[in-house]
Symmetry: C2
């Protein structure tokens, strides 16, 4: 029997009514600066350890997403979130401080899409009216956990990616909310659009056999291709149904592999050049010495919660497919001869 469809349709119209993105210094120096809600001048964020800084970033993003949605934390049914730290340290401590029922998610860098998808399920199914989702990562916590202590000053190969210091959070609600008006570049006032979570595709774990922890893009690209093709097949859509299709953090190498594989699958190169991009390639300038681009849960989280959310509220983007991509890299498994499995989940958003 063939695999059943992997795509869930949200018929009851869950809406994203609040969003907040917060990034570190290096991200603030990049080309996406104007799209983030808060840019830190100091990546410690006033805390004594990097882990506490990251946790504070996530907590701020969630608190601000609630504030912007006009909700207080007692109105929130559940928080769904995750991060890259072992035992979800950032999310656990954030959930402790917020004192909201909590479901911890782990999908490596795919966590933002996983949380968004399951959050939409809970709201769409009328299990909760208001839910907060989020994800975070921090260059300094990720380096010491997955690679080398920063003090070691090790050289990075050209294929390495730079973990984004950033967090993003969204508030999903069963009811849309009037966002008011905003002036465009020409000075005319436009009503802000409502952003609806329309459907989501749950990805499979795909292992391309990559064993090099500095080749994350290659490890994740096949999973992203699989999820995207299944999404298009399930929904009967072509890629150009979407104004933009964004992967999370494939980086330059992974993005090229993704495009090659999609072209092999029959999607035109022109369409891909026009509509497909990767958050890991967007968030930094190549001159920022980031080698193969950005990575980490915070990469797609901050771009979705910042850039995509804002471009959709103004109506500049109407249909967007966001796909966070995760490399399920264990620090132990490579020593046991294992390769790095990848995963990607897709969520379709509509501005209306």
């Amino acid at each position: 029997m063939a695999r059943k469809k992997q795509t869930i349709i949200f018929g009851n119209k869950p809406y994203i009514i609040g969003s907040y993105s917060l990034v570190g210094k290096k991200e603030s120096d990049g080309p996406m600066k104007k799209w983030f809600d808060e840019c830190l001048e100091d990546d410690t964020y006033g805390e004594k350890t990097w882990e506490k800084s990251e946790s504070k970033m996530l907590k701020t993003a969630m608190s601000e997403a609630m504030r912007r949605a006009g909700k207080n934390k007692d109105e929130i049914g559940v928080v769904l979130s995750g991060d890259l730290l072992n035992q979800l340290m950032s999310s656990s401590f954030t959930a402790r401080d917020l004192h909201i029922p909590f479901l911890g998610m782990y999908g490596a860098c795919s966590t933002m899409a996983e949380s968004l998808l399951l959050g939409a399920v809970l709201v769409d199914g009328r299990y909760s009216d208001d839910i907060v989702i989020g994800a975070s990562s921090h260059y300094c916590t990720a380096e010491r956990q997955f690679r080398m202590p920063l003090e070691h000053g090790n050289q990075r190969p050209p294929s390495a990616q730079w973990t984004v210091t950033g967090s993003g959070a969204m508030l999903i609600s069963s009811k849309s909310r009037d966002g008011g008006f905003r002036a465009d570049d020409k000075g005319s006032w436009n009503r802000l659009k409502h952003i609806r979570v329309e459907c989501g595709t749950i990805g499979k774990v795909i292992d391309a056999g990559i064993r090099d922890a500095n080749q994350m893009g290659s490890a994740m690209a096949p999973a992203a291709v699989d999820t995207l093709l299944n999404h298009l097949e399930d929904t009967g859509r072509d890629l150009d149904y979407y104004d933009v299709v964004l992967t999370g953090d494939l980086g330059y190498i992974g993005k090229d592999i993704m495009k090659d594989l999609l072209i092999d699958a029959g999607i035109s190169k022109n369409m891909l050049d026009e509509r497909y991009d990767d958050c890991g390639c967007m968030i930094y300038d190549l001159q920022q010495d980031i080698h193969s681009g950005g990575s980490g849960c915070g990469c797609s989280a901050s771009i979705f919660a910042g850039y995509i959310y804002k471009k959709m509220t103004t109506g500049e983007l109407k249909k967007v497919l966001i796909m966070s991509t995760g490399a399920l890299l264990s620090t132990i498994s490579p020593f046991q001869g294992e390769s790095i499995p990848g995963i990607a989940h897709a969520v379709s958003l509509v501005a209306e």
Copy 2:
């Protein structure tokens, strides 16, 4: 505004139609032996590393739960699972091998209840007809990740708990399934009951300020109390509504604290003595040198998927509340002066 209810009611009747539990040697030597579906003689399970052994245990549990439910893996919409290993190594590799869409969960030892709860949401909401959930832990992988390498042979304090080597998996379906007949002790044949997931309560992260990684029961008990009291309040039930209320792995110390706190909250000691127990106190015999009892995702996973499932199919237990309890213990945070936050989720099952 007061916190909204934390409890989700499953009106569309999701059923557990298959279940499998598998444990290691020490667990097989304990008092629960006859309730497990498979007892290993050798905790390596034929693999070269403990992590691969654990992953194989989880995969076997899921595959057998599917087989017993009469489903093949192409019929399964999603796998929801988690474990204690960093980056969910067991679950990720299991999901890779099964090739079923995967959502990774992390709630430390509360993962079995978290997965069951969210799996029931997906089935109840008609997002998928058949879902597999599971969790695992392994003494040897947990010791080296959270405490000391086994070779170190360190002494364990009396408050320490023994991580269960075990896995459990269940198949949740939108349709019940005739389980046939089974002979009871007196030789008469009885039709097996259907087990329905009736409701679930999502827990909050509660931090009791415990900083000692060998005091997990104390760290988790306040969270379990909070979830249970919220569950009873949300549902308007008394504790004796249930034939049995089981926590996951509070162990002897945590169970005593739980009882004391519940007595303080007005629940009678008699009722607790009669109806409340903890999987961590049930799984081993005190003579097995396990100090304060069992712990780990596999503790509640194997008891729920083995003992509870079987006692409910025969109708011996009719209403059960299972609560996996998690200590969100990070290996880094204690060095940064942080305490250990706890969490617990509750799921109510009915045999009918």
